[in-house]
């Protein structure tokens, strides 16, 4: 420092030297000294990039001192006015709003920052900008607090799989943990929606309501066009609420429902339905040559995949399969691809990919055996684009 101090004394209006001396002070925690010198660097300097960095360094100094948010916001905004396409200031602005609990401002700043801050970061010192995922992080945090829960969770899940710093990674994990799972209440079909159905299968007109979480039952009925079929339901849970076979059974279908959780046995019996409490990995699958519907919905998705491998596909064919890969929460991000390869190897065709209860949570793929389902219906029902498909928009064909 003493060398730079002496350089400063020789050239006290040299903005680069002012900046360097400020940085020396900041490195030892003397943030007031540093801030004064950074300001001096801007006032005596014509280098816009250095001025930009000096303003942000001042903001970071005041952030370290704590409780100077009003000034910090002003400094960052002034920096943005100098170089509006640089990302560092936008990121700090969004972060500052977030830390001030100015959620709407933070959410907006993150969006604007990601859109505007497209120039490469270019600073002498660390302005705490690592990548444009930081905008998504701020958007996720702030978005939650203005009620954009689905988007927030989606962003956190996406972030979890990105290369973040340890502290951000931990924060993402903490947020996902604290914000809970994203199980959505079933979106119910009722008769008024008949005209909107993507495919009006036989008997659809008579259906008053359904039970599945995301129209799995309506999908099965569409693909099988109203037959009275058989099912194997693995991970059946509640007998009605969010259940994929309740409607089928009411329409005359019969089958096997399994769940590992003993709590369900009594509830199914109370409701006049029968489920078996069993570990699907150890179950003796003595099945007929043909069944009409297979559901696999276990937690976590790695278990679903292990169960899938236990199904005797060499001896039993299924017309329709719904497989829950929970890609949006799958930490390995591998189950979806593995299940797809596996089912294709047995001749099954993916009809609907990435079904989601909202716009952000791809959690199931829906399959058929092409030899056992009408090609005409397949053409109507097929949608295998990568994007998450909100189930109501899909089943009503309003994507």
């Amino acid at each position: 420092m003493e060398l730079i101090l002496k350089q400063y004394i020789q050239e006290p209006r040299n903005s680069a030297i002012c900046f360097k001396l400020g940085w020396e002070y900041e490195k030892i925690g003397q943030t007031s000294s540093a801030a004064g010198l950074y300001l001096r660097a801007t006032e005596f300097g014509d280098d816009v990039e250095l001025n930009y960095e000096a303003m942000l360094r001042m903001a970071l100094c005041f952030e370290k001192q704590g409780d100077r948010w009003f000034m910090i916001k002003g400094l960052i905004l002034r920096a943005i006015s100098l170089l509006p396409n640089r990302p560092e200031a936008h990121n700090l602005l969004a972060r500052t709003y977030e830390r001030c609990r100015d959620w709407q401002e933070g959410y907006t700043a993150a969006i604007v920052g990601k859109k505007m801050g497209t120039d490469k970061p270019n600073s002498i010192t660390d302005l705490e900008y690592i990548g444009d995922w930081m905008f998504d992080f701020e958007k996720a945090v702030c978005g939650w607090w203005i009620g954009l829960f689905d988007e927030s969770l989606y962003l956190f899940r996406e972030l979890k799989d990105k290369k973040l710093t340890d502290s951000y990674k931990q924060s993402v994990i903490n947020n996902l943990s604290a914000l809970g799972n994203n199980w959505k209440a079933p979106i119910q079909y009722n008769k008024d929606n008949y005209d909107n159905l993507r495919y009006k299968f036989k008997g659809a007109k008579n259906i008053e309501r359904n039970y599945s979480q995301c129209f799995q039952d309506m999908f099965v009925l569409s693909m099988t066009n109203g037959i009275k079929g058989t099912y194997l339901e693995i991970g059946c849970a509640d007998p009605f609420y969010g259940n994929n076979t309740a409607l089928l059974e009411q329409l005359g279908w019969r089958g096997i429902s399994l769940d590992i959780d003993p709590q369900w046995e009594h509830k199914w019996a109370e409701n006049g339905r029968k489920c078996q409490i069993a570990n699907a990995l150890d179950y003796d699958y003595n099945l007929p040559d043909l069944m009409d519907y297979l559901q696999i919905d276990c937690d976590p998705p790695s278990v679903s995949f292990e169960v899938l491998k236990k199904i005797p596909f060499h001896t039993t064919e299924f017309r329709v399969i719904t497989f829950e890969h929970d890609h949006y929460t799958d930490e390995t991000k591998s189950i979806r691809d593995k299940s797809r390869r596996y089912l294709k190897s047995f001749g099954y065709e993916l009809i609907v990919s990435n079904i989601s209860p909202d716009d952000y949570s791809p959690y199931e793929d829906w399959w058929v055996h092409p030899h056992l389902v009408s090609h005409e219906i397949i053409e109507i029902m097929r949608d295998i684009s990568d994007r998450p498909k909100r189930s109501d928009k899909y089943i009503y064909d309003i994507l």
Binding site: Q10, Q30, G36, M55, W69, M71
Partner: protein, 321 residues
Amino acid sequence: MKSLAKHTLANGGDITPLIIPSNLTNGTGLMNPSVFVDEDRILCNLRHVNYTLVHCEGKQVFANRHGPLAYLNPENDLHLKTINFMLELKDNLSIKRYQKVDTSKCDVTPMWEFHGLEDARVVRWDNNLYITGVRRDTTTNGQGRMELSLIVDNREFARYRIEAPNDKDSYCEKNWMPILDMPFHYVKWTNPTEVVKVDIQTLQSETIVLKEGVGELQNMRGSSQVIRYGDYRICIIHETALWKNKLDQRDAKYTHRFIIWDLEWNIKHISNQFNFMDGEIEFCCGIALYKEDLLISFAFQDNAAYILKIPQSQIDSIIWS
């Protein structure tokens, strides 16, 4: 205008930053150091404040919404708080040890926005070590009075609040310059020179010297202590230019001069104006002779403290400039 630091470095002098660890200060301002040579020890009182001075100099195109001159406090605490640290310096003027001045024995609940003893100068009078500055927290309207704090083993052992000599209702008495070789005497005003004597028993003061003004430079405010220098007494004073910009926002600039009196308090010389490090807000609370060199302790922008060593060979040419 001459930069005293630049001139000094170019002529064999030296400068040393005075920095204590930021975990003691939250990184906010270290300012207005007051150097004092206490027999063979170099002491220095260092003022810490809880704000950051934000002052736009140069083009003034990066002002904040408070204007070009702002004292940036925590938003949830607008009190201006001063804490003093006593430093002992090594021979090379680096810090040998430091300790917060413990005021707990004398503290009472502050009644105004400014807390603590501000711009304390170090003196030793009648074998007692004091720091003396202005305190403004004892009334609800911020009335300022010079105080003397008796320091024993780095603790404030007693506190003496001195009444103004002539106008008991004056709002703020500050920057009285303690005269090191005249116990309990201060230069209250430089030009016309007014010397006051204080009585720490009665807490009163009286004017004992009041000279005619010399020349037109009469806006000279106290800064350092007054020290003996041969057949003279010398000090550093500051002058202030205060104004408001087009947005009615305040701004200021300080400049400095050496003052030389004879032993009868006749002003013999007023030096040219100078700054310390080209800053517009700088302040000096201490000068001392040490091994024939002149030590000057000053603050830059209220945010950083330094001590300047002027070699003996340069002293006369600088103070008589």
